[in-house]
Each structure stands twice: as C-alpha cells, then as structure tokens.
C-alpha cells in the first residue's frame, strides 16, 4: 500500500522537524514536502527490482539495506458493553544513509525510527494520536525477526509464546493487546513485488497479515475496557518514491463478514486521474487470491469532511467490484480521525455495509487518505 509515500516523506522530513519544531518555520522560508521526497538519494540502497522469495519469520524483521520499511498495525475492537474502538500502531524505519559505519559509540547508527499511535473512541467520539522518534541504536528502537519484536521506546510488539503482544502508552491512553495471526502472510502485488510506478525499482516488497485476532485491554482516561476484535498488519520495504505526477492515495483495508479480506489502494495523479498502478487484492475465506486493479475496482466519494486545520477529506465511499458483484459503502466510525504530526493525513476506522451477489455483507476496516491537506504529500 501507499504508505510508502507517507513514509518517505515522514522520515525525510524528520530532519526538518527537528530543526523547526518550536519555531514554526513558515512554509515560504522552509521547504516544500515535494522537495524532500527523495531527499535521501536512493543510490547505494537495495531496490525492489524483481520478485523475491519471502521467508518467515525472517522477513518479519528489518531489511536495513532498503531505505524505508514499516510495520503497520490497525484494528477494530469492541468491549462487551459494545463500546467500539479503532487503533493504529505503526513503526517506520528510515535509513539516513546506505551504509552503517562501525562506530565506537553505541549511539552511532544510520537508522532512524518513527512511530504513530492512534486510538479512536467511537462511543466517546474522541480521537487520540501520538508520534515518537528515535534512532535505531542503544536498544531504543528496532525490529527483530526471531522472536519477533518491533519497538520504539516503550511502544512495542513482542512475540510471546503463542501470540504477539502489543503494548503502547501515551498520555492518558494505554493499549495492552494480544494479537494472534489468523491468516498466513499474504504477498501483495506480483508475488510480493508491488510496483508503484512505471520506473523500474520504484517498487516495494509488500506482504500483509489481513486478519489477526485481538484480545486485551484498552485503558482510556482512567477507565479500562476489555476488548476483542480484528487487526490487520501491513509490511512493506523499499527504496522508492512517489512519482512526479502522483499526488496522493486512498487506501482501504477491509475485513468482511463473509470471511474475505479486501485491500485496495488508488493512486491519484495531480491531473485528477487515476494512476494505472493502483492495485489491490481480495483474499477469499477459502484462501483464493483475486488480484484487483484500477479497471476492476470502481470508487466514488460520497461525503467530504472539512478539517478544522484546512483541507477536505473524502471520508465516505462507494466501492464496487462489478466482476465479483461486490457493492460496498465505506463509512467512518468518526469523522475526525486526522493525524496532525510531522505530516497531516487521515487514517481511521470504518464500517462497511453492502452486498455481494445479493447477500448482505458487513465488516470493518481502516481507510487512509493522503495528499488532501497542506503539510501532506501533495504539492
């Protein structure tokens, strides 16, 4: 999925954020995000040029030869009193340089890390989000394959006996969740090679675990909720950038009541047209994989939400896959699920209703909207 762009942007901008954090550099005096894209030259890094053989659990760990990488957990949860929650915990790795010279100081590292934590309290109609940075040194942040572990400071996902344990705390929220993969890793794109533009190497290695069973506890403003639900993991690593003519993306990860899981991203071009590299996958309950592309998926914005900070996001959608007779309406559980950090984007829990071949279909999932606001990827 297209978080890749977010990522590249984010981590390159990190440097700038550090410079002007409290100074509120005026846009005119500083940079345009577009200038920063590709700010770290891609020379010297490994690139996703051809399909590769994935191997697990090794590939759950990090791939430091590539410039960017992420572990993207989202999920929809509910407690017994039918309080609904959405959560997002994502770790981004960004290499500041292709090589990592041997340093005497344990602080020396070419790896930088960023993490976002978000929680949607549907019944309380509140949205919380946080951001952290660290270098990949001194045990402060990193990712390991076996046992699986990805962490930044005290936010972590750690493999324990039979499950992955998610732990994250910030201000007045705290998540303590057990994650149990219910599906095997699903290779996206062409056997895991996800082409983002026509330029060779402008591609990523991309797999998902579309369904993880979740149980655990969410603490929120002093109240605790025992929750269960479903989570989705996206893993992607690459050394690529947003194409010059690309403006943003709309990304869907939907878990449906018939047991199938749908991922689709639509790449938008600056001229308003849809990039042909838009793509997706439908994983049937029986394990069948159906590839989707811009021609097979029909998307239409139904409702726009004006951000108080400026910009409008299309938060309600019609998603149709005519060849599979799937007709869905995607509705956010809360309108304001915008993250305003290093960059600004909308990422939130959604409800799904509709039908497939005449049978009613429900579900929940996550929607990511990028390139709609200033300080986001569009330029």
């Amino acid at each position: 999925m297209f978080k890749i762009f977010t990522l590249i942007t984010l981590l390159t901008v990190t440097a700038i954020w550090l410079l002007d954090n409290h100074n509120q550099v005026e846009p005119s005096s500083g940079y345009q995000v577009g200038d920063i894209l590709g700010g770290i030259a891609d020379t010297g890094f490994q690139r996703a040029l051809a399909p590769r053989t994935f191997s697990f659990p090794d590939d759950h760990g990090s791939h430091p030869g590539f410039r960017n990488e992420w572990w993207y957990f989202t999920g929809n949860l509910a407690d017994t009193k039918s309080n609904r929650f959405g959560f997002q915990l994502v770790f981004f790795r960004n290499a500041l340089s292709p090589d990592n010279p041997q340093r005497k100081s344990a602080w020396g590292s070419n790896q930088s890390w960023m993490a976002h934590l978000a929680l949607t309290d549907v019944s309380g109609e509140k949205f919380y989000s946080f951001e952290r940075f660290s270098r990949g040194a001194n045990e402060l942040a990193g990712a390991e394959a076996e046992p699986f572990r990805v962490w930044l400071y005290d936010w972590s996902i750690t493999e324990r006996n039979d499950h992955w344990h998610l732990q994250a705390k910030a201000d007045n929220i705290e998540l303590n969740l057990k994650l149990q993969p219910l599906r095997r890793p699903l290779l996206q794109g062409q056997d895991g090679l996800s082409q983002k533009s026509s330029e060779p190497g402008n591609a990523s290695y991309y797999y998902s675990i579309p369904r993880l069973g979740v149980s655990g506890e969410i603490a929120l403003e002093n109240s605790k909720h025992q929750v269960t639900g479903l989570s989705w993991l996206d893993r992607e690593w690459s050394t690529s950038a947003l194409g010059k003519d690309q403006a943003g993306w709309d990304w869907f990860s939907l878990q449906l009541s018939d047991g199938s899981d749908l991922m689709f991203y639509r790449l938008r071009r600056k001229d308003g047209t849809v990039d042909p590299h838009s793509s997706g996958t439908l994983l049937q309950q029986d394990g069948e994989i159906i590839r989707l592309n811009a021609d097979t998926v029909y998307l239409q914005e139904l409702e726009w939400w004006d951000s108080p900070m400026g910009g409008s996001y299309p938060i309600r959608w019609k998603l149709e896959i005519p060849k599979l007779d799937i007709n869905l309406t995607v509705t956010p559980v809360l309108k304001n699920q915008e993250l305003d950090h290093l960059i600004r984007y909308w990422e939130g829990a959604v409800d799904i209703s509709g039908n497939r071949s005449g049978q009613p279909l429900q579900g929940s999932g996550y929607l990511e909207l990028a390139g709609y606001a200033e300080k986001s990827v569009d330029n």
């Binding site: 410079l19 954090n21 700010g39 602080w107 020396g108 590292s109 940075f133």
Partner: protein
Amino acid sequence: MVKTTLWRASLQHLRLHPWQLVLAILGIALGVAVVVAVDLANDSARRAFDLSAQAVTGKASHQIVAGPNGIPDSLYTQLRRQYGIDKSAPVVSGHVILDDNTLELIGIDPFAEGDFRNLLDFTTDGEQTDLIRQLLTTPGAIVMSQELTESLGLSAGDRIELIIGGEKRPALLIGSYIPSPTRAAIFKNILITDIASAQELLQREGRLTRIDLILDDALDIDSILSILPAGTRLLETASRNLTMRGMTQSFHLNLTAMSLLALVVGMFLIYNSISFSVLQRRELFGNLRVLGATRRDIFSLILGEGLLIGAAGTIAGLALGIVLAQQLIHLVTRTINDLYFVLTVSKLFLQTSGLIKGALMGIIATMIAVLIPAFEAAFSSPRSVQNRSRIEDRTKQLRLPLTWLGLGCCAVAGSLLIADDSLMFGFVALFIFILGCSLLTPTLVTWMCQATTRLFGPSIGVSGRMAVHGVHTSLSRTGVAIAALSIAISATVGVGVMVDSFRGSVQQWLESTLRGDIYISPDQPSGTGNQARLKPEISNMIEQLPGIAEISRGRQTELHTAGTITQLFAIHMAAKSYGSVELLQGDPETVWSKFDREQAVLISEPYAYRHKLAVGDKLQLDTDHGRHSFEIAGIYRDYGSEHGVVSMRMSLYRQHWNDNSIYSMGLYLKPGVDPEQLIGRIHNLVGDIQELRIRSNRTLHQTSLETFDRTFVITNVLRLLAICVAFVGILSALLSLQLEKARELAIMRATGFTPRQVWGVTLGQTGFMGLISGLLAIPLGLILALVLVFVINQRAFGWSMELLIPGGVLIEALLLALISALLAGVYPAWRMAKTPPTMALREE
C-alpha cells in the same frame, strides 16, 4: 509653581559657582558609576550563566547526574523503554579547545530534543535540511554558529582539530547556522554534535554526562529514584543551577561591597558640597527668613537643589557606569573563569533593574547627604544673618555627641561581628564601623591640630600656624573632607593589606605544597571540571624515565549532590609529599596511618568551614557503589579551591569508584637531575600522543601566583576608583574652604603677604589636611584589614591566613593622601594668590 523667585535666587547661586556644582555632580556621578558598573557586571555574569544554563539545559525540570564515570547509556534506554519517560534527553558534553578558544562541545540526540532546548533553532534552507542527517551519520561532524565560524575563519566542509583533554581529535565542520539574536552570545562558544560523535570525541563511549528530564508526575520521580544506579543522582535543574550560581555568590558580594564604598565616599562629597553652598548662602537664607520664607520653604529649597544635583549626577553616573561596566565585565568573567567555572559569555546585559537600582541609590545617597545641611539651614534662626561663626560654633558643640555616636557605631559594629557569623553581617558591620570612624573625625582632627600647634607651633611660623588653625576653625568643612579622604585611603590600606596577606599566605602554601620537581597534567582550561585524564601509555612512558626518584599521582573529580558540588581529589602520594600537607586540625601522629589504611579522608579548610565539619566527623559521599561514610582524619590548608576539597588516597578512591584514570603526576627527581632537561625529554617522548601541561616547580609556582594576581585586578580597580572619588571630594572641600577664606587671604595680602606666602598658607593647609587624612587612614585601614582577613575572607571563602602588614602599603597610603591633598590644593592656591586683594575686600 509658587515661589519661583525663591528658586531663581537659589539656582542663580549655583550658576554663579559652577565648579561647586560640577564637583558635586561629579562626586555623585563617580559613586553611582562604580555601583552601577559593578552591579551590571555582576548581573551580566549571572545572567550569562543563567542564559547558558538555560540554553544548555533547556526546559529540563530535572537532571540525572553522576560521579566521575558518568551515567551508563543503558539507564537512558531503561527510562525510555521500561518507564516510558518520554520527556527525557541524553547529553554528553565537555570542554574542548579549538584554535586556543575554550568551547563547550554538546552532544545531543536530535530525536529526543524536541521537548528541551532549541539548540538547533536555525532557519533552514535547502542545504541545511541535510545538516542533521549528516550530523547523525558522519562521525565527528559538528555544527557551530555562523559568528563562530567567521571568527575562526572556517567554512563548512573544513576539517578541524579539537584539543580535548590534551589530545588532538579530528572533527568535521559540516555547517553553520544563525541562532536567534537573543541566543547569539551563547552560541558563540558552543559546538553542537551528535551524541555518538560527542562520546567518541570525548572518549566517553557508553557514558552520558547527564540526562535531562521534564518531570511533572511525582510517580515518575519515584520510579526514577527507585532505579537510579549507585553513583547517579536525580537533581532539580533549578536547584543545581542555583548551586552552581551560588559558587560565585561570595565573589559578587565582595565586589558589591567595594562598590558601595565608592558610593559612601561619594556621599561625603555631596554632603560637603551642599553644606558648603548652604554655608555660603546663610545670609541669603537669613534674608529670606526675615522676608517671611518658612523653614519648610528653605528646607525644600535645599532638598530640591540636592535632588537636582543628585539627578544630574545620577544620570551622568549611569552613563559612566555603563561604560565602566563594559570594562569590568571582562575582569569579572576572567576571575570567574579562573576560580569557578567556564563562563562562555562576556557580554554586557543592560538590565533596567540594575540601572534603576543605581539611580535610586544615587538619589537616595544624595538626599541623605543633603538632609543635614538642609536641616541646618532651615532651623538656624534668621539672626544668623548677623552671626557668621554660628555654624562653626555648632560644629564644635556637636563634636562631643558626634564622638559618642561614633564610638557607639564602632561598638555596634564590633558586637555585630561577634553576634552573627554571616558574610552579610560582616559587611554591614564593616560599613557601620566606617561610619563610626567618620563621626570620630572632628574630634581626632581637633586633637591633631592642637597637638601640632603645641608641638611644632614655634617652628612652623605664622603661615604654618595659620594653616593649622584654619583646618581647626573650619571644621565643618575640613572634617568632612578629611573623613572622606581617610576612608578612601583606609580602604586602600585595608584591601592592600588583605591582598598582601592573602598573597603571602598563598605563596607560603605554594612553597610548602609544591614539593615535586615536575608536574604533568593534560592541557585543559582551568575551571572545566576534570574529565580529562592522562593517557595510560603516557604515564607508563614517564614512569620508565631514568632520573625519577618518586611519583605522586592524582585524580580530581566533581561529585554533584543536591545543593552541593564536592571536589574530590584522589592521590597516591610520594613519600616526600606527606610533608607538604600543612595540617590545621588532626593529630599528626595518627592522621597519616588513618589516611593510608582506613576509610578516612582529609578535607581542606574551606570545605570544613562550609560544611561545618571537624576532625572525627563522618562525611557521606555518593560512590559508584552507593552512599558511603568516611571518617575525617584531618583538615589541611588549601587555597586551591574556595569551595573546598575532599582528599583521599588513590586506593580508597578506586575501591569506591570504578575509575582507574589519573589526571596529574608529580615527579620527584633524583639529586642532580635537571628538571628543565627532563621536561624536554618528556615533550619529545610524548610527541603528539597527548597535549600536556608539563611544568617545573618554578613555573607552576609562578603561574599560580599569576592567576592569583589576576583575580585581584578587579579589586585594585575598584580601590582606585574609590580614591578617585575621594580625590574629587578633597578637591571640592578645599576649593570651598579656600574660596570662603578669600577675604581672610585678601586681608593677608593687604597686610603685606606676598602671593608666594599665600601659596604657602594654602598649600600648607591642604597638605596638613592630607597628612591628617593619611595618619587617620592608617589605623582605620589596619582595622579594616583585620576585619577583611579574619572575618570577611573567613566567612566568604573559609580561608584563614596570616596577617602581613607591609610597610610599603602604609607609606603608600600616607603619600597618596598627601599628594592628592596637595594636588587638590594647587588650583585654589593659584586662584587665591592671583586674586588682587581689593577684589576680595570689595565684597563687604
């Protein structure tokens, strides 16, 4: 505006006597200038400290600090990962030398900085967006402010060589930035680098200097306290900065007291000028009273005049003070750098509070000085129009009460000294004592005049007798002038004797302490803490050299605890070193066996004074293995540190602290070995491995005394300023006196005195006044010296010293008094001698 004519009558008088006006204004201006200058300089130094502390510690509410070894990296990771203390930032810092400039190298983790300082608050352009990435990924990459790069003639991309703990380390200047104007002064002396590079450059891998924290949750504080490893401490930033600031408190207080002295002398001057101008106008005031002007009219008239003069003098003083402060700030900063810590800023901060304070003091001092003459004029009966000697009579009547008051002041000062042992009270007592002495002046002057007439009457001739008599009969003016001059001179005597005593004691101490022939330590600026150490290969090399009989090895560190900074000195003593320690307390028989074998330490005199410790007491220190109690085996003389030193044997230190490094070596040579030759050999041997300070006994002795002298430059400057004020004072007093005597002198001329004889009488009189001032100043100065040496110094610094009275200082004082009085007499004498007798006589 009522009674403008009254005002006109008064102001017209001032206009007709401009020199009087100028001198009065000058007196207050000089006094205010000195006070303002010292205040501004002190304040600037403090503000500089605050600003750099603020820039360096940022918004941190707490800091974790540690002993000589610093803090393990893992503590920071633990805080972040286990306790989720997200407002925390690691810092590795140290002092480095770049092209002879001492700079602070600050290593930060840019990822953790957001909540703390804006060290990197520069404006960005395309190239600078890359700076931090380079900082993180290029070993040895540093950035500095553009001002610094310009002053060093460097530009981005230059390879530079830093000298750190005497070793040369290559670094790369990757860029410069323009800090916001308010912070420019601080960043002129700061190098910023990534924490990894800082550890590598300072050779402190795995160790942090401190961890800055923003803690507002008591729970967080508790959990941090529970995991702090031995040897580390959690301190509140504010209190830590206060502790650092407090180190210089005594120094600042001493300067302030010196500056107040100048103001007091200035007050005498004002008093003198105003009371003379009142005296001159007693006829005018008498007439006004006859015409129906009330006492209040006269009183407010004179007060108003004083206010005017005070305001003019104060304004001039403020301007002069700012100019003077520009010079003083360098002296103040230099002394702080020599004695306390590196203060990287020497910029004058013009604080309005300081200026307002100076202005108020100027006005108030003037008002106090004017009050007495104003009272005098308002309350003397209008009949004094006819009665010219009335005021002199009154002065003579007042002499006895004044004497009693003066004696009372001296008694109060004495009991204050005994009753309270704070430094502040010491100064208060000193000022009361000075006031008392000035009140005694009229009586003392009278006695001296009478004695002179009786003893030398016949031999000094008529002019001589007239001169002496003149001093006596015009006591109301001569008394004040003599008091002002003698106070200024006594201050120079007191301070001079104190400095000489101090220097003598230091010299003696250096001689007994510096027994080794050669001293070796890494080349690092003084006052930078002692993170530097001798490289082991160097100490090995030196040990192998022939010609060395014995070696002592030392290691200095600072232990930061809440509220205090303790200097710890671990030493492995050569056999010959034992004799160099002058014990002030402790049984010489057992001290050394305790020091060598038990859990015992020696503490220096100031340390004992400050912490109220005595031999046999227990001293708690935070070691790398937790808090440990040490017995105090003895107290020794040491002038090296104002805040005191705790000394322990090296093996004891290593038992409690995981630190095997050595900071300094003292070499005792075999007989017949030439130290200078050996120094040459060591230089050759060491070569480029480490920049060392290798000094022979003689050189070290010399440089120590040079440092000492440097720190007293500012004292001497202030002393000189006080004399300047006094000189103006005596000049104005004499001018008034002589001009008032114009008629008398005219009569003398009329009766046949030659101009030369008039010169003689005038100069004789001023010279006599100078002589009296000098003679009075000597005992007063010696008492001041006693108080300074045995009270003020003891209280301010905890040092005891031998009183040393150099004859030179006394003769100097006498000459100073005499010469300034004679100089002040030249103009009036010239004026008097030149005036034709008819001019002066015509007035009646």
